[in-house]
Every structure is written in C-alpha cells, then in structure tokens.
Amino acid sequence: MKANNKNKVKTFSCEQAIKLVFRFIDDELRGNHRAELEHHLETCRHCFDRVEFEKLLKSRLRQLNVGGSSKKLRQRIETLLEQF
C-alpha cells in the first residue's frame, strides 16, 4: 500500500491521497495535485481501488431518477406559464 517512490517523481502518501479522492472523482483537482495523485494511483493498488469504488458509487447516484418529466407536470407548467 505504500507509495512507490523509486522513480523520484514526487508522490503522495496514502493518507494525503485519500483526502483528495472526492475532488479527484469530481474532476475538481488541477495542476500538481492532480498529477501527483495520478502518480500515486499508478503505484498504489489500495488507493486505486478506493477511487474506483467512489466513482462507482457516484455513478449509481447519477443514474437515480433518470427519465423525462411527467406529461402531467409538463401540462401543469405550461398552464401555469400562461397565467402570468
């Protein structure tokens, strides 16, 4: 689980990486932090799995309530818009 540092690229510890996981999966991590985290994920199976897990759970939330608005609601809103 310990980060492999042999190629001299600065990398995070697991503890530092975990703190940035949410920002990483939300595509909110930029610059050096992103590069360093990506490097860590290439060398740490445990953190890589954590990221994949968080992405999977996020995708399950993204799939909730998929579908178009109901016809009833659309008619109601169109009527409402005519009243103003």
């Binding site: 949410f22 939300d26 909110e28 897990f53 909730l64 109901s70 609601l73 809103i77 818009l81 103003f84």
Partner: protein
Amino acid sequence: MQLTQQQREELKRLVLPLLDDLERFALSLCSREDLAEELVAATIASACESFTRLRDTTKVKQWLFRILSNKFLSDCRKQSRHKEIGLTDSFEDEDSQFSLFAEVSQPFLLWWGNPERELISRIMDEDIRNALDTLPIDFRVAVVLCDVEGLTYEEIADILKIKLGTVRSRIARGRSILQKKLWHHAQDLGLVKTKEAQL
C-alpha cells in the same frame, strides 16, 4: 407581476427544456413524486414573478436550481417532520469520516475478489434513495447537485451562495453519512459482515 406576451414566450423558451432537470433535481431531494411536482410548480411560479430581474439568461438553469433549492430548504425548515434531520451540525465527526470502502475492502484478496464492488452491485436504487433522504438537508442538496446533477463545485457554490470550501465540506460529509447509512442497511440485510465477524 404580469408578464408581457414577449416575456412569457421568452420564459417558456428558457424553462420548458429544463423541466426534466428540474423534476429530477426535485425528486432527488423530496423522493416523492407529488412533493417533487409541487416543488417544481412553486419554482416556476416564483420564476415567473421574478423573471424581469433575471439579467443573464445564459445562467437560467442555475437561477432555477437556486430558486428550487431555496424553496426546498425553506419548506424543510418550516416543517416539523424534518426537524430531526435538518440540523447540519447534529452529526458527529465520526459520521463525516466514515468510508464504506474502508469497511468492506479486503486488500489481501488482491485479484481474486472485490467485495466492495459486489456490495455496490447488490444495493438497490431504492436503498440509495432512502439513504439520500435521511441526509441533513444542506448536505443532501450539495450531494444531489454534485452527484445526481453533475454540476461543478463552482456552479454549486453559485447556486447555494456559499464558498467553495463549504461546498467541498458539505459534499464530503454528505457522502460519508450516506455511506454509513448504506453500510448499516447492508448489515441489516446480511449483505456484509463486520470485520470482527470475518475474523
């Protein structure tokens, strides 16, 4: 406020294509179709009243989401049935640092098994909706905007009129609490064993 015919047509042109997004957002917050429809209708009524104050029509989605969020938060705070879940600060720190992955993963399995992925595949959408529904309302709104609606932190900050750091914190704490709820639910259903039971 009475809109002119031209304003009404402009509002229709802007609002109707966003109805699916609004209903999905409302449904994710309320989890009941009837409440979600009421929330969307109230949002549109409010948008009609304040339409003349909308300056940047390219940000109409954020504007409508802001109205809907504010209505939802305001309604929740008024209703006593939400009192027990409405206080953002009522959750302990340990709730906000919980990781479902840390509870379920078994690193020694390496390539031969992936219990955390198995668990996610066995959790039903309804379980996730129920867990989402129990989040403190401020956290729920942030998590829904990020995970269900796919908005950026900056867009969420703009909608909720809060700082970026607060957005990050609400999303992180909300997700942790959500994962803890899912963990307890999975235990209740016998989908997972505690680490103690695995020994």
